[in-house]
Amino acid sequence: MQVIKIEDLYKTFKTYKRKKGFIGSIQTLFTKEYITVNAVDGVSFGIDQGEIVGYVGPNGAGKSTTIKMLTGILYPTSGVIEVCGLVPTKDRKRNLMHIGVVFGQRTQLWWDLPLIESFELLKHIYRVPEKIYRDNIALFAELLDIDEFIHTPVRLLSLGQRMRGDIAASLLHNPDILYLDEPTIGLDVVVKERIRQFIKDINIERKTTVILTTHDLLDIEALCNRIMIIDHGKVIYDGSIDEIRRRFGTESTLLIDFKEPPDELEVDGALEIQLEGIRASIKFDRKRFTASDLISEIAGKYPVLDLTIEDISLDGIIRDVYEEGKLDESIS
């Protein structure tokens, strides 16, 4: 069942063009030069119930803007959004009742009050039945250890504790959809792992649909089966992680240690060669050559001591995608 439907979504911001420096800022007062920014530029996609979708892209790509439109806070410039059959800006309250949102850089918790007070308030705002509320608090205590700091004022919590608090807060009313905007930003590996496991558990147990934006691709690898890459407001990839690996992760690196440093290294089929002393790293395209081709070629010419093959990481693939716009060509 499709819970989110987006068709041809656009969001345009209009801002002043600001000139540089002191004189420039005075000029800005008198001229009205607008620049329009297409934060979201013709996006379409659908998401099924129970999916965990990674929504990734460089800073300013339009990820948060999309999420804000899905929550009904921002009005789309044009296009269709439906969340569980509701139009978020028209049925703002009803839509908000069955979604949960975490913005990693912000908090919905009451800064000066103990964590539990925020939970109590949310219970009333979302009209959560007492039984469900208690069960959830118990569950979050078990999975996120929030009971350790539930009576501490939020301003005294560490970032990891606060984030766990925020994630718990967003799930108190058993939402159908959970939007997580950089939920692991600035956290240590242990807390990150904890949060990933928790999201996974919730997704399996409750069939909660999760949309996750992050810059940490380990989050994506651990959680998502589907990834959407957005850049300059356009979705440039939408598919499985395996698929993206297969299509774009074809670059491998062969690391070779020689018995003695060769003066010069020439390998047919290498994309890039780096030689440092006795160690060489050779990049090649697995689609065109196999590692054994390369190895036999090199071993024939030079005395080899040791070798390893490294696959490119998902991180590396996505970085290539951002930098080179590899996907642009493959789509058009």
Binding site: N59, G60, I73, F103, R106, Q108, L121, I125
Partner: protein
């Protein structure tokens, strides 16, 4: 409705978190009372009665005005007004977290504000009692007058909330609203009778001003308190307050519907 009550409670608790700072404020508040006292004492040096108002009525008026300012949060001694809060929330994008609640945004903010009001009222009680002893401000003539004053003060609060709310919404259009906010507070300070009672204005100005919403904020409740506006006249003034509340409420809803669409939050 329960949700709004809870927001109100939390907002009250939040204010309590910083009660330690109150003592310092108290000192500042009484210093400002003393200045007001000296100011009017100098003006009243050669007469016991100006425009039919005795020195003591005048002191009562002016100190009650300062206490009121602290209660209704427009400016003055306790000073956390909505417009300022909102402007910083919009600038940092934090406003998103407030709008993402399945509540009516205006009522949500009102509940916040009302929690602060309750806190302010409680804090104002000892200030009031001390002022009665130190500056000899007097109590209302009768329980009826007191009741009328409380009703009128409640109206003042609603009026300031609505004005403050509309000023807040300016930040949806321009990000900053400090300019508009400062201007509004200045206008209120001058034309509401907060510092200079309206009876010191020329007659034509007084007549015009008494129909403005600003006069409804300070002039009406304070005049009721010191007994300058009595019975029927008091009810008439309160009716005018009510009319303004209705009008500003309608205006604020309209502005809110327009402003919602204007929100721009980049990043985060």
């Amino acid at each position: 409705m329960r949700a709004y009550l809870e927001i109100c409670k939390k907002s009250f608790q939040e204010r309590m978190a910083y009660r330690g700072e109150l003592l310092i404020r108290f000192v500042g508040i009484f210093m400002s009372f003393y200045l007001l006292y000296m100011f009017w004492k100098a003006l009243y040096a050669n007469s016991t009665d100006v425009q039919g108002i005795s020195f003591h009525s005048m002191i009562t008026y002016t100190i009650m005005s300062a206490i009121m300012g602290g209660i209704i949060n427009i400016f003055g001694i306790l000073n956390v007004y909505l417009a300022y809060w909102m402007s910083s929330r919009v600038r940092t994008g934090e406003i998103v977290m407030d709008m993402m609640k399945p509540t009516d945004f205006q009522l949500y903010l009102f509940s916040h504000s009302f929690g602060r009001l309750l806190f302010n009222v409680i804090v104002s009680v000892p200030i009031f009692i001390l002022a009665v002893f130190i500056f000899k401000i007097y109590l209302p003539d009768s329980l009826g007058v007191l009741a009328l004053f409380v009703v009128s003060l409640s109206m003042s609060y609603l009026l300031t909330f609505l004005i403050d709310f509309m000023v807040s919404l300016v930040s949806f259009w321009t990000t900053q609203n400090q300019g508009v906010g400062g201007f509004t507070r200045l206008i209120i300070a001058l034309l509401s009778g907060a510092f200079i009672p309206l009876w010191f204005f020329p007659e034509w100005a007084r007549n015009v001003l008494s129909y403005f919403p600003f006069a409804s904020i300070y002039h009406v409740p304070l005049s009721i308190y010191i007994g300058k506006i009595k019975s029927i006249e008091g009810f008439r003034a309160i009716s005018l307050q009510l009319i303004w509340i209705g009008a500003l409420y309608a205006g604020s809803r309209l502005l809110w519907l327009k402003s919602r669409r204007k929100l721009m939050t980049h990043g985060g």
